[in-house]
């Protein structure tokens, strides 16, 4: 199980990096082709499709690394017990939201299947909308692992975001 998840994480990072690099390549190709009087409309379409996937895969990466920005004006002043309790509340609400995002995202991908992606015949917008459901599923796993780690430890995990540590 552990190794399978490791493979998933590796794949996630590789795909996200690949999508970002492909965005760069596609946008350049589009610009050069237009300069040569041969506009290629699909390059920008494909680039924005990759963008959606890159954003939600990267969001999970940032969430796992505790790199999503938060305010710690109040929480930092509380006792450890309250901090732990608040973390549980946060994780629970977030997990609930992610469940909604998985369900709603899947439904959205299903209903948008007849909507063509930027008018390209035969390419469904579902290819784009599916990104949010997949991203939310990965983030839900991350959240559950965070909850488990919190239950196993006694104190409050020192997150990068809370300690102002440099990434």
């Amino acid at each position: 199980m552990k190794t399978l998840y490791d493979y998933v994480l590796k794949l996630e990072a590789i795909l996200a990096g690949l999508f970002l690099m492909l965005m760069v390549g596609l946008l350049l190709l589009g610009g050069v082709a237009r300069m040569m009087q041969h506009p290629l409309n699909w390059t920008i379409d494909l680039a924005t499709c990759f963008f959606a996937w890159a954003v939600f895969l990267c969001a999970d990466i940032a969430w796992r690394k505790d790199m999503l920005m938060s305010l710690d004006l109040v929480t930092a002043k509380l006792s450890e017990r309250y901090q732990r309790a608040l973390l549980f509340v946060n994780y629970a609400v977030i997990a609930l939201f992610l469940c909604y995002a998985i369900y709603g995202g899947t439904l959205l991908a299903w209903t948008s299947r007849s909507r063509t992606f930027n008018g390209i015949p035969g390419v469904s917008y579902s290819w784009v909308t599916a990104s949010i459901a997949v991203g939310a599923a990965l983030m839900l796993i991350t959240t559950i692992l965070k909850i488990r780690a919190l239950m196993r430890s006694d104190g409050v995990p020192c997150t990068a975001a809370a300690s102002g540590e440099v990434a």
């Binding site: 990072a13 996200a16 990096g17 970002l20 965005m23 760069v24 390549g25 596609l26 946008l27 350049l28 589009g30 610009g31 300069m35 920008i44 924005t48 963008f51 959606a52 890159a54 954003v55 895969l57 990267c58 969001a59 999970d60 990466i61 940032a62 969430w63 790199m67 999503l68 920005m69 938060s70 305010l71 710690d72 004006l73 109040v74 929480t75 608040l86 973390l87 509340v89 946060n90 609400v93 977030i94 939201f97 909604y100 995002a101 709603g104 995202g105 439904l107 959205l108 209903t111 784009v128 909308t129 990104s131 949010i132 990068a160 975001a161 809370a162 102002g164 540590e165 440099v166 990434a167």
Partner: protein, 426 residues
């Protein structure tokens, strides 16, 4: 919508990541509107990633990371140090100049802030500047970017308000210069008070300048090539970001030979987390904006405002204040689209000049990108530099005062804005 704002505040206070706090509280709006399909929040979140203006954000983050590892940043900073190193807070001053240069390139304050967070952020803190100050400078000085043509805000305003876009473009230069000077004074004041040391004791010698110029020629060429590329019609603004990445890779691998496979992958890995933290937040904030637009909140407030006085300059001050308040929650583009058709006719009816008003209005609207609790440029800078919003706001105060005073000057002396367009267009 009140419930939404309250929930957002509570979520923020219990330390929930801002991205989730804004998305989850935004969803509450839809619970109050059962007639709306419950998939809309997810749909608008995905739509943000299909937005050409935002496509530039990940590209400029990557460009910044690769410039750091290719040696471009280093020679650029060396050059900066030679040019401004004898000033206090030299690098902060460089951020101002760079934002103006980027105006001709990306035209987007958010893209500018994203790139500078990566190329200047750590360097500024290494030179002893506090993180809050660094973030504040990088964020607020990118106000210059949309004022130098071609800014998307001016095109939107011109289109919605039927104001000449050419005139708007011409009108942006002088205010950008004034704001740049005012920001420069604010930066100098803080650096002086804090005792941020100059990097060098005295002005660089001619020989030093020459060697830095030779070393930095590739770095200097970068904005020049981008500008020429844009002017010659080789690239659209959305492609410039991609070109910036390619250029950094080319210099890193071929010219300076500082970039290796290992550092290439490292920079990409950092970019993944940067893009995730910035873009996830920006995407989810669309859920929040939906409710604000749906309930027409800015229109309701705005229509009552213009009836207060018939002095056009006072009305402009009131409008700026209102736009700043709206800007706390909404980003520039939405403000310009929603409020131009309400304010512009009122200002016109009182005899105000649409170009004069437009520039002031765009300055005020753009500030919304920098102010908490919701602002795309602020989110990007603070999450990349890991700065708390509290420190960011505190340390940005001198800059805010400088911008505020300049804006008042621009309101009461319209000639400052209108001189250049009147010279060019008669």
């Amino acid at each position: 919508m009140l419930l939404v704002v309250l929930a957002f505040a509570v979520f923020l206070l219990i330390g929930m990541p801002v991205a989730f706090a804004i998305g989850i509280s935004g969803v509450l709006f839809f619970l109050q509107h059962p007639e709306l399909p419950f998939t809309i929040p997810l749909q608008v979140t995905v739509s943000q990633t299909q937005n050409f203006a935002l496509l530039a954000v990940p590209l400029f983050i990557m460009a910044g990371n690769y410039m750091n590892r290719s040696g471009i940043t280093e020679s650029l900073l060396n050059l900066a140090s030679v040019a401004t190193g004898h000033f206090k807070g030299g690098l902060a001053q460089i951020s101002i100049v760079l934002s103006a240069l980027m105006g001709g390139v990306s035209g987007s304050a958010i893209a500018d802030a994203a790139m500078q967070s990566r190329i200047l952020g750590e360097e500024m803190t290494k030179r002893g500047m506090s993180r809050g100050f660094t973030a504040g400078v990088i964020s607020f000085t990118s106000l210059l970017t949309p004022l130098i043509p071609p800014g998307i805000g001016m095109i939107l305003y011109g289109t919605i308000g039927q104001v000449s876009i050419g005139r708007m473009f011409a009108a942006g230069f002088a205010p950008a210069l004034l704001l740049g000077i005012a920001m420069s004074i604010a930066v100098w004041y803080t650096s002086n008070k804090r005792g941020y040391p100059p990097e060098r004791a005295k002005r660089a010698s001619l020989a030093e300048v020459g060697s830095a110029l030779r070393g930095g020629v590739w770095a200097l060429l970068f904005p020049v090539i981008l500008l020429v590329g844009l002017r010659m019609g080789i690239f659209t603004p959305s492609e410039i970001g991609a070109f910036a990445v390619l250029y950094a890779l080319f210099i890193g691998f071929v010219v300076y030979r500082r970039l290796k496979t290992k550092s290439f992958i490292e920079a990409l890995e950092i970019s993944l987390a940067d893009v995730g933290s910035a873009m996830f937040l920006i995407s989810l904030s669309a859920i929040f904006s939906y409710g604000i637009v749906f309930e027409r909140i800015p229109e309701v407030i705005a229509s009552s405002l213009t009836s207060l006085t018939d002095n056009v300059q006072l009305v402009m001050v009131l409008i700026v204040l209102l736009v700043l308040v709206a800007g706390l929650f909404i980003d520039a583009t939405v403000i310009i689209i929603m409020m131009t058709p309400i304010f512009l006719p009122a200002v016109r009816a009182m005899g105000g000049d649409p170009v004069h008003f437009g520039v002031v209005f765009i300055v005020a609207a753009t500030i919304g990108n920098f102010t908490p609790p919701v602002g795309a440029a602020m989110f990007t800078v603070c999450s990349i530099l890991r700065v708390s919003v509290g420190a960011y706001v505190r340390e940005s105060l001198p800059l805010m005062i400088a911008i505020g005073l300049t804006t008042l000057l621009l309101i009461f002396v319209p000639e400052l804005i209108l001189l250049i367009p009147n010279l060019l267009f008669g």
